[in-house]
């Protein structure tokens, strides 16, 4: 889920995390703005934009009657983690398929950024995200292993239940440009940290073409999407850390005990 406020809270409450360290280091490293501003729009330090995305594939088995070489119908895609529209960030997505496919380089220029095909084989797909020019000049590549067959070999293939493999990741833009920041200020798909005090952004122009987003929530495959929640993971990690810290404290006590004993022993052994 988008979490623009929670990381901040963590930073302030638990000084042990690397959060405040990161933040304070960032402020220390910031140089006079003018020297750092690029010609193409202004870039901001100490503000980092993260866009949570999910990428993966859904594969349906087409049944016994299907052609041997077209046994599965699969869709590979990139979506916003909460199924929100990512077209403000991503300009186009290029899927590089196995060379046995016709035109293995498939370009998708509008959301939903997905590609459907029929086939029988599993292979690695290179997904290259191209961003809008004010977001990022260079493309970013992800790699996804297409999965058609269920993990558990004993389960029989079913036409109704697809095989779904999704991976969660976040796109991090460490120095976003002002225009990008302004554009995504209130965008639900993007998480923007609280801006430093006294920082004001120009209000984004109400661009009608931008508002006309494809409502991805009505996508037919939505029912199969995984809901990634960080809460469980955080709980697990916190519990593990607690255990480790307790153990560390115990070991430290034992070491001091032994050191004390050794101190006592030394004079006696000299005798």
């Amino acid at each position: 889920m988008t979490n623009s406020s929670s990381p901040k809270r963590n930073e302030q409450d638990q000084p042990e995390t690397s959060g405040p360290v990161l933040k304070s280091l960032k402020t220390k490293l910031s140089k006079p703005e003018d020297a750092e501003k690029k010609i193409v729009g202004k870039k901001l330090k100490d503000v980092e934009i993260s866009v949570p995305i999910v990428y993966g594939n859904i594969a349906f088995w087409l049944g016994k009657k299907a052609n041997e070489y077209q046994s599965h119908k699969w869709t590979v895609y990139v979506r916003g983690a909460t199924n929100e529209d990512t077209s403000g960030v991503i300009k186009k997505v290029v899927f590089q398929l196995h060379s046995s496919f016709n035109n293995p380089t498939r370009v998708v220029e509008s959301p939903p950024f997905e590609l459907s095909e029929q086939g029988w084989g599993e292979f690695e797909i290179a997904i290259t995200l191209h961003f809008h020019s004010d977001v990022c000049e260079k493309p970013l590549s992800l790699y996804h292993q297409l999965k058609l067959y269920p993990e558990d070999e004993s389960t029989s293939l079913s036409i109704k239940k697809p095989v779904v493999v999704e991976s969660y990741d976040e796109l991090v833009f460490p120095e976003p440009s002002e225009s990008f920041l302004a554009r995504v200020q209130n965008h639900p798909a993007v998480s923007v940290p609280r801006l430093p005090v006294g920082f004001t952004l120009p209000t984004p122009a109400e661009d009608p073409s931008e508002r006309k987003r494809v409502d991805t929530k009505d996508h037919p495959l939505t029912q199969w999407f995984t809901n990634f929640s960080e809460a469980d993971e955080l709980l697990q990690l916190a519990a593990a850390r607690q255990q480790v810290q307790t153990h560390i404290a115990k070991l430290r006590r034992q070491i001091t005990v032994i050191e004390g004993q050794q101190q006592q022993l030394k004079p006696s052994s000299d005798q």
Binding site: L25, C136, K138, E170, H247, L251, Q254, V257
Partner: protein, 446 residues
């Protein structure tokens, strides 16, 4: 017989009868033709890559039309300055002795040492630290010993270092060259003019070389470590640079030097198992900042990539086995090695957990060392004095670390019971330090 063997000539058919019986056997084993078995065996039983003498050549008879005699004749050597007459064997063909100079005379080469007249000396070559007599002596020795400065330095009457002698010689030659040249342009190509001898640089170079040669193994290891770290930093910086083609601000350049020092210090402190206190942690933070800086240079990156980099940096001071143990511990605690939902908060927590596990493993090792120290100390004192309880507790902890950690409540109470019987079992513990060590080894191989 033996002489023939050495010469490599084939055995004559007039061999002693007992040998005849064994000869067929030898024949079957004999690989080469032309050289006997013993000689062949000397080469290690393997034929040389390039035949030194073609075996057929040995069997070749000299051409029958020529009449060859060998004569003991005198000869002259053009390389000699005196008129000494020596004699040697000469291969005479059809009564005609060979012509030409002594074949080794051409190897008598010598170095041309420049000579200066007294006038030239007065004009160009005077030097406050060198008298004419010394300079003359130097040049005599140079000629006598073919510019072998090691010998010249040894034989020089007054004690001068080799660098001084070389310096004087080369500067004299250079001055003479320049003086005799019709124009400076003529001699500008000469190596003496182009690259003058630099005595101080030579001294430095030799000193540095001797330092490198006399480096201890530890020093070598440290240097290699530092270089490897520098290379890694440079490469990661290169990667960041390649993505973002902007000019690096000046302060970034300071990072390599400072982070190299921090890295070596961090690794040293880990090796010495110093207790985790403020200084090492600040050094670790300094390293984090360099990874962060390189990440920030990228226009965009994935959270998982960032986590990978941070994990790598955090484990840079740990060996491969330690990293595996960290991963094993993570798995035992039920944590995925790569978080399933890598948000910023989750990644930060994951990183901190890994660092804490590293600390834990280091502390365990430290504890083991302390125990080993303690047991070696106790060998000197009476054993019954010290109850084995502390050690027992610790050992049990080591062995049961993972299951203990997994269950918070009930089982721990159960495990404490055997410990209470500890003092009564003192006689069991002191079997020998040797016994304990293998057990400790097992515990540590988690």
């Amino acid at each position: 017989m033996d002489a023939k063997d050495i010469l490599g000539l084939p055995k004559t058919p007039l061999s002693v009868p007992p040998e005849k019986k064994s000869q067929p056997k030898k024949d079957s084993q004999r690989k080469p033709d032309g050289i006997s078995r013993e000689v062949y065996a000397l080469t290690g039983g393997l034929a040389p890559l390039m035949p030194s003498i073609d075996s057929s050549y040995l069997k070749k008879r000299p051409p029958s039309d020529e009449k060859i005699t060998w004569q003991w004749l005198p000869f002259t050597n053009s390389a000699r300055k005196d008129t000494l007459q020596l004699y040697h064997w000469v291969r005479v063909v059809n009564g005609v002795p060979p012509t030409g100079d002594y074949s080794f005379a051409k190897y008598n080469k010598s170095i041309e040492v420049t000579k200066y007249t007294d006038e030239e000396y007065a004009q160009h070559l005077t030097d406050p630290s060198w008298t004419k007599q010394e300079t003359d002596q130097l040049f005599d020795l140079c000629e006598q010993f073919d510019l072998r400065f090691v010998i010249i330095a040894d034989r020089f009457p007054s004690s001068r270092t080799m660098e001084e002698l070389k310096d004087r010689y080369y500067s004299v030659c250079r001055s003479i060259l320049l003086a005799r040249a019709s124009s400076p342009a003529d001699v500008s190509g000469h190596p003496l003019v182009k690259e003058n001898y630099n005595a101080s640089q030579e001294k430095e170079r030799k000193r540095a070389l001797s330092m490198v040669l006399s480096q201890t193994k530890q020093q070598e290891k440290k240097d290699a470590e530092v270089l490897a770290e520098a290379k890694k930093i440079a490469e990661s910086r290169m990667a960041a640079k390649g993505v973002e083609e902007s000019v690096m601000p000046a302060t970034e350049n300071e990072f390599p030097e400072t982070t190299i020092d921090h890295n070596t210090l961090v690794s040293l402190s880990n090796v010495r198992l110093a207790p985790v206190a403020a200084p090492p942690s600040t050094l670790v933070i300094a390293d984090t900042s360099s990874t962060l800086a390189s990440l920030r240079m990228l226009p965009v990156y994935l959270r998982t990539y960032a986590l990978e980099q941070m994990v790598q940096q955090a484990s840079s001071s740990a060996g491969l086995r330690t990293i595996k143990r960290v991963e094993q511990t993570l798995q035992d605690l039920g944590i995925n090695l790569k978080p399933r939902v890598p948000t910023k908060a989750v990644c930060a927590e994951h990183l901190e957990l890994r660092k804490e596990i590293l600390t834990l493993l280091n502390l365990q090792k430290q504890l083991q060392y302390k125990e080993a120290e303690g047991s070696s100390l106790r060998e000197g004192t009476t054993y019954s004095e010290m109850p084995g309880t502390p050690k027992r507790q610790v050992r049990d902890h080591d062995r049961t670390f993972i299951p203990d950690a997994m269950s918070f409540g009930g089982e721990r109470g159960g495990r404490k019971d055997p410990k209470r019987k500890g003092p009564g079992r003192v006689s069991e513990t002191p079997s020998s330090p040797a016994n304990k060590r293998p057990r400790k080894m097992k515990a540590s191989d988690l």
